[in-house]
Symmetry: C2
Subunit: 409 residues, 2 copies
């Protein structure tokens, strides 16, 4: 008998039929003697529909009120789910953010969980065995409804698992687990049995969409094991856990592709203190997230500054940079949307120097030119021409032997 | 500068366009210096849609969870309304049942308001001038969401008006006010300027649908003036207020028609103690509301017992009564669905004996036979053949001079 948190995303509760299937799956686990906290997202499409409704009122809806509106999505899911469980003869009750005492800061639309008072959940869990908690929502100190932003239900689930001391947080989704590469790009991609929090964090920030990055940070901080698995079958998925000696033997765990970024280069920027600040300040103030930043000396007293932003922010960023670049005497500003970022991630890189050169060699062998390089302790990212994206993923996947269990160092 | 509660029903907030119009109307009142609590129902159709959704899960949804689901309707309305107000440059925030501290008992689906802690509302009202409160919902002592049942938003509005000491509770609806008769039946029906709580209670229980009866009881108890008016124009509607000497001069205020009832007669019931109880006990236990009850002696040692129920409960009631009637030796059970109940209501009846005979005389002149009669201090109801319903209303409306301001005694 274990204490388990399960989280089901929007697709998993996309219809009444699917909600009933989730109820059956939860009851199956309950029948084994487990007690379960079930975290649900809004039914697929519901969140977008609510946003559209608010846009009919005004292009810039008040963020506090938008949170009140958005919270109805998960409220509907948990009540319908609890009805389904009860109609199948098992006890259950739904709890919303304020009832589950999920306290957040006051940043509407992307609030962060500050703490959870688990008393009510534990009481209901003891009495009923199954408790459904609305994902994505909490309350601030003033009892105002807040939401955690896209992917927030993952964070709710992991935070609850930490708060009640669950043995595992199961994230049910529409894929089988975490793969060594995107199976749509690389046919030989393999489902990983285990991956460390650190690798998962890199993969999530590199564009792997399975888990929300904040939930992984939470899991790492409180050492909550996450089990990413499919809601369409009973197969084992991928365990995301603290790293162990064994894991360090894996040189590269996965290859991640991100085609969502665009590159901007400020060429021949005078090399003076404060110039980087002047370039980036208006971008940050516009709320645009800059991913990679690379600066190299070019001519005498000048540098080339290159960085990437998401394609949706490309035009706006280009305009902002153009203005500043002229003022501070850069030669020109270049932009390129036809790029891809391909990255390899693995704990083993820490102790093994040859990984980068093997990556460069592999790309060179395929005649793929590398535009930008950025590294961290456990990942290497290269920006390449967009048309080579899938080829690069397959070549790297093969080169590091990921299709057959990963190369050992 | 006044403190005002306004309530808008589902039709008044039936679309984003209508919600914006309500926001404009509220702002108009705010511009006059008033501070406003605005109570909203769910958008028209939303409540029914949510019930349908729950029925897809199970025919008998858990009542606690149904309340959680239903509460999303008003939650959406108040958030969209608050967005609209803010987008027009005025401050406002929405409050749900738990935030407005509307405490009820634990009867899910038809909870009764026990008390309201007005601190939060008064604080927001002072700061913002406009506060939107979700109608129809509250919380019980265990922080569970409850709903007040159909028409519950009227009660929310009146209870809030009492709690914050508002000068008036304005109920905006799709009619111009309370009429001396249904204008669809009687072309000469006149909008009443004022009516007493007592008359309104009788009219509501007799089938006039404009105000929920519990809201009138609340208003009477706490002496909250209600102003029933149209949300489609700025015309003055009907004030529902405590009775005054002036009002007692009005013999009859209105004629009310109810075609929703059916009649059941238990003929030649042995006149023994306990027989009425044996007839009604199974009906009450089935949750069926009995309206009129009349008993008369028939043959020696026997009585005829007649009562009315709503047409939706007619068949079920007939079946229940048939069984008991056989057991206790009644001669037969008769049922009739083709009936109408026509009633006159007026404070002046208390001190004027001739009202009943004038009613009977008027019906007799139209050759309308009276099946059942039931009276209270300020109303007389007659059950007649269904086909005469509209004729009876018009004849009584004329006879008591309601078209030109009411007959004085």
């Amino acid at each position: 008998m274990a204490l388990i948190v399960q989280k089901y995303g929007g697709t998993s509760v996309g219809s009444i039929e699917r909600i009933k299937e989730v109820a059956e799956s939860v009851i199956e686990s309950r029948e084994k003697g487990n007690r379960l906290v079930v975290v649900l997202s809004a039914m697929a499409g519901q969140t977008d529909a609510l946003i559209r409704l608010s846009k009919e009122v005004t292009e810039t809806p008040d963020l506090r009120e938008l949170d009140v509106l958005m919270a109805t999505g998960e409220q509907a899911s948990v009540s319908l789910f609890a009805m389904a469980v009860k109609s199948m003869g098992y006890d259950c009750c739904s709890l919303l953010g304020f009832q589950a005492a999920i306290y957040t800061d006051q940043i509407h639309g992307k609030a962060r969980i500050k703490n959870i008072d688990a008393d009510r959940i534990l009481k209901e869990l003891k009495e009923r065995g199954i408790v459904a908690v609305a994902g994505f929502q909490g309350i601030d100190d003033g009892s105002n409804i807040t939401t955690l932003g896209r992917g927030g239900s993952d964070t709710t689930a992991v935070a609850l698992a930490a708060a009640i001391g669950a043995s595992v947080c199961e994230i049910y989704t529409d894929v089988e687990g975490i793969f060594s590469a995107d199976p749509n790009v690389c046919a030989r991609a393999r489902k990983l049995d285990r991956i460390s929090y650190e690798e998962m964090l890199e993969m999530a920030s590199l564009g792997a969409k399975v888990l929300d990055i904040r939930s992984v940070e939470f899991a790492k901080k409180f050492n909550v094991p996450i089990h990413v698995r499919s809601s369409f079958n009973r197969n084992e998925g991928t365990m995301v856990v603290a790293e162990s000696k064994e894991m360090e033997k894996i040189l590269v765990s996965g290859v991640v592709l991100d085609k969502n970024e665009a590159r901007i280069t400020v060429a021949k920027l005078p090399d003076r203190p404060g110039n980087a600040f002047r370039i980036f300040d208006p971008i940050f103030k516009a709320g645009i997230v800059v991913d990679m930043i690379v600066q190299n000396p070019s001519a005498e007293g000048r540098v080339d500054l290159t960085f990437t932003v998401t394609k949706t922010h490309f035009q706006e960023t280009l305009k902002l940079v153009d203005e500043v670049a002229r003022e501070i005497g850069a030669e020109k500003v270049l932009g390129d949307q036809d790029i891809a970022k391909v990255s390899i991630v693995g704990l083993g890189m820490r102790n093994h120097a040859g990984v980068a050169s093997k990556m460069f060699e592999t790309l060179a062998r395929e005649n793929i030119n590398i535009g930008l390089i950025s590294t961290s302790e456990i990942k290497i990212s290269c920006v390449i021409e967009g048309k080579y994206a899938e080829l690069a993923v397959r070549a790297l996947h093969d080169a590091f032997g990921l299709g057959n269990g990963g190369e050992k160092n």
